[in-house]
Amino acid sequence: MAQVSGIAEERSTTPLSSRKSVTLRITRYNPEYDNEKTFMEFNVPYEKWTTVLEAILEVKKHFDHSVAVRYSCRQATCGSCGMVINGKPRLACFTKISELDSDVVTVEPMNNFPIIRDLTVRFERLFNSHHKIKPFLIHEDSEISSNEKEFLQSPEELEQYIQFSNCIKCGLCNSACPTMATDSSFVGPQALAQAYRYVADSRDKGKDSRLKIIDESHGIWRCHFAGSCSQVCPKGVDPAMGIQFLRGYLLGFKS
């Protein structure tokens, strides 16, 4: 009896009754035990402002707590909750159900990332590629070696790279990229856009070493300017633009 009243109490704090509801199809897959992905369907009430992440958490709270999902900030800042929502990579916390304009919302793990379980994927490859392009300022006269020296930068110089520094490493761009769909050695739009972020920084002196890293058979030349990366970026980074500018250096259009 105590258990029943406990559940009733919980429901009273989070009302499940709503005029609108949506069928949420969640991928269930554990690579250790399952041969293929399956979907579980839940009928979830939603309001105009309900995000897909909130709907998934509603499922975890009331229907099945074993659904694996990674999330943290709930405000498109941490880049944890990237997943494929109705066929396109999006942040679950940044996607409102009402905006999807569909009675069925299907959530799947991001493509081109190994699955840990259900909706969570491994980010090792993305982080390795990001690390490979040296995501830090390279300057022999750094602030660490010489005391209290500042690198001055004009607002115009800042504009050259500030857009690309918005990257939250959510991996949506890599998930949407057509090259990454088949090429597991490709460095990827995330890392390439970050390479441009540092190359375009007037304080940085590591352009040549970065260009050398990306100028290989699975480097920048495997980008074909399909632009899918830019279309899914939740922070307006526009990796496709950065990649083309970066390629401009290798083609001799920029110096």
Binding site: P31, P114, Q163, S184, G227, P234, K254
Partner: protein, 144 residues
Amino acid sequence: MENQDENKEGIGGMINPRRYGIERVAYLLMRISGLGLLAYFIGHIYETSSILQGEMGWQEFLELTQTTEGHIIMTIVIGMCVFHTVNGIRVMLGHGGVGVGTPARPDYPYKPASQNTRHKIGIYSAIVLAAIAMMYGFSVMMGH
């Protein structure tokens, strides 16, 4: 198994043109037209080598291509050639950083500057020019 482990979308995902707008359609058409043109080019080199067999050999091979099927294939080749050329120039300019916008602080709803109207016009122009060239080519082959 490798695909399953890495959860790669695979060829199906790479060639799916429905989710990311006209740019992804152009990407797919560029690949298909490129492969088609290479196949035609190899065939064309083989076809023209029939001239080494004298007038009879040349006429025999020419007759094979002067059929309705041959004309349809040639019309498709013309379309692929024009699309690959025009879209190729657009992509090449983009690769050099031409017409992809300028870096700026992004504002919500974050419309990517690189996916701008100029490039969309470039893609639609490639498709329209390919269609016009196909019609013209077909009429020339039919002797009009």
